[in-house]
Symmetry: C2
Subunit: 455 residues, 2 copies
């Protein structure tokens, strides 16, 4: 191999690391619609939200005009433990694909939680601690968010109660043990610990749970337990704010070497990785300073952007949370047991939904066998074993690189590699054994979900 | 937290990365004893060794005078994919321990194989490829080596046949799947694929295997299959040579900030991580240029240094490999099912054995419950979930840091964090549930192993 002008991996120096988060809503002309009260349909007030969320996080959630928020010193210290995340030039993948495209990825899997989730977990835990709370509750699906939060809470000495979607709890006992190693208590959801859990268990006996259901349980415990609040790992505007560190670092690393991406690709579940990655770039686009082609890649089994509808809907199955305006398949939509557990949420970040509705992003849905083929190809050339979720972005990047091969264009592609797949080897085993199938919901399946969306 | 003068993590720039490996034997006055033929007891010749190993690796194995070997360009390219590994200042652990000591660790777990093993895997696979071989065979215990080699072979397009100790094969199906994802074939050992495997199965029906037995099988397949050679992930001098990249990078990073360690600590199984970490430092000590206190930490269940004997012994159970002079418990010693699977080898690198025998290192043995307590404490403060093997070094570092707390000394401690524990959650579960016990062999247990050492 010849000498490369751009290194394989760009690590920012500590003094080059971002010290502020960027709030993309400040630059949006069409602001995301506010959260509304499920009863009155009036926008949720700070006071109402503070029953569920920490006060400082509510402030961030409601603020759609302040462009930059200082990152508190203690969070910066924690970030320094596992960040900066490398921006990697995929020289080996490029060579395998024989593409003239230049492929970069921002790798967020180099920490024990195995994903970018830690970026918001430490922020949310920090504000909870500052408020003098005893602990927080949350839900986790694939387990990345629960793991990240357990690490953050261990660091700060906060209690943590995790409701883990029952199917994940059973399929991924080792995820559960990681959380326990960091001191969290982990309950399979639905559980009989909550009223909403009991109701779901009686309405759907034998259910293996869903993210929406686990959210309902975690919220119920938070609002009924003294000194506790609820925290959420995706969807919310505050999460996208914290995750902007991904894009800010990626942009700083690219700017350092004079690189400008043409295409930016992220996997899309609730929107935390995609929203964080694209934040500063779409900010430039919104301000008319630069143009980029943004692509969201989602699972065909849970096609929120590509087959969903843009409407006010519940974020949880128990319908106890505020309504959010978003692309949604309906809170009652039960996605098939696809392996990218982190992308199985029925809704989508309101911010990303508005950007998508305004025509600022493209979205694609891909079946999981194609996703695992891309994951394997990536692992064998770049060495990193990707999470199924992250592999959606890989698939998007490979497809774009192969287009460049056809046209001869030397486009620069940036994608978000949100995490690693160490706890997904059951899924890889299925793929290795040729036993993986695709789940594509029928129009009838979708209609059932849509029917539950409030008018 | 106040501003830190040394960053949390020191990453070398690409141009600062070592381009040569260091061969510590060149600076040893008392050279490690040569491998000898089990029949004739004469030193193994290059021609004899080339039936088992690749020619270039045999050259490295036999060369105890050349101090530096150029790292081939293709290996440097591969290194750039996952290296430099960070040198981390354990600010958070120091704070939790309230110690005046300054603790650094060289973290080798930031790659998919989850350990330092990849450093030698890519080198050995490269030389096999250069020699025009079709494939290689190997054994794996805990799975790190097999995973690393499968990544290296996938990258270079070499076939790989792994014999995995049966107990690990069954306890760690996900390790197996990682190797399969990278295209390796994985066979539980002992197997009926080899003569030696069949013999062991008939002599010890129901055995769950051992590293020594898996080595015998892998060697047999290599020497009886056209176009194949055998590769080994530890113990050998060539492995320590490749692993010197760990110490060379650590030293370069420390030199950059004017840091000089007082104490250097590594976990000791076959010696690959410890030997690699200490290489350039012990080189300075051997040349009389500097002094350091070296500490090897091994499991109490397999106490090679602390309770073994220094003698010529077989490296494998089947007794088909050359004899090596080393600290050993006897090739028939069957360590208890302790969780640090990577440290369960009955022998030890001849190079490290000689250094230890010359009084240049200290060694300690620790039981696994204490090791997991240290692992948990480390995980909760530094965020990284360590492998049980690596946690031996953590335990050594914590103990030294606590001594500094008592005496008030501000010693600088460097330890090797060889890898991550994502595939060891079964062991963590046992620890979390309070079900872990220690295995300390009795003198009688040891006597049985010693009885098998050839006179």
């Amino acid at each position: 191999m010849s000498e490369k002008t751009v290194p394989y991996k760009i690590y920012l120096e500590e003094h080059e690391m971002p010290t502020k988060w960027y709030n993309v809503r400040a630059d949006m002309k069409n602001k995301p619609a506010p959260l509304i009260h499920p009863g009155t349909k009036a926008p949720m007030t700070a006071a109402e939200l503070e029953g569920v969320f920490c006060a400082e996080l509510v402030k961030q959630e409601l603020d759609d005009t302040t462009a930059y928020f200082d990152i508190p010193a203690e969070i910066l210290s924690f970030y320094k433990m596992y960040r900066p995340a490398p921006l990697v030039r995929a020289y080996c993948l490029e060579e395998k694909l024989q593409t003239p495209a230049k492929i970069y990825y921002k790798f967020e899997g180099n920490n024990t939680s195995g994903s970018h989730k830690l970026n918001s977990a430490i922020a949310q835990a920090y504000y909870a601690k500052q408020q003098g709370l005893k602990g927080v509750t949350t839900e986790t699906g694939a387990g990345q968010w629960g793991t990240a939060l357990s690490m953050a809470c261990a660091y700060l000495g906060l209690d943590l109660k995790v409701f883990m979607v029952k199917s994940s709890y059973e399929q991924k006992p080792y995820r559960r043990e990681v959380m326990r190693t960091y001191g969290a208590s982990v309950t399979p959801s639905p559980s009989s610990d909550t009223e909403v859990g009991k109701k779901i268990l009686s309405d759907f006996p034998g259910t293996s749970g869903s993210l929406g259901c686990a959210i309902s349980e975690a919220v119920e415990v938070a609002v009924t337990t003294e000194g506790y609040r609820y925290v959420l790992g995706s969807v919310l505007a505050q999460v996208l704010l914290h995750q902007s560190i991904i894009g800010l670092e990626a942009k700083a690393a690219m700017d350092k070497y004079g690189i400008k991406p043409d295409i930016i690709i992220g996997c899309a579940g609730g929107g935390s990785n995609l929203g964080g990655l694209i934040a500063p770039f779409i900010g430039e686009k919104l301000r008319g300073e630069a143009d980029y082609h943004f692509i969201a890649v989602e699972p065909a089994s849970c096609p929120t952007f590509t087959r969903g509808t843009y409407a006010y809907d519940f974020c949880d199955t128990g319908m106890i949370c505020p309504l959010a305006k978003m692309y949604t398949l309906g809170s009652g939509f039960m996605p098939a047991p696809e392996h990218a557990g982190g992308l199985r949420f029925h809704g989508m970040s309101s911010t990303l939904s508005q950007l998508y509705d305004d025509g600022l992003m493209e979205a694609r849905a891909v079946g999981q066998t194609e996703i695992f083929a891309a994951a394997q190809q990536f692992a064998r050339s770049e060495g990193i074993l990707p999470a199924p979720e992250s592999s959606h972005a890989i698939k998007g990047a490979i497809d774009e690189a192969l287009k460049c091969k056809e046209t001869g264009e030397e486009k620069t592609i940036l994608f978000g590699l949100s995490g690693t797949g160490y706890f997904d080897m059951g899924a890889y085993e299925k793929y290795n054994d040729g036993l993986m199938t695709d789940y594509i919901p029928t129009d009838d399946d979708l209609a059932k979900g849509f029917a539950g969306i409030p008018k």
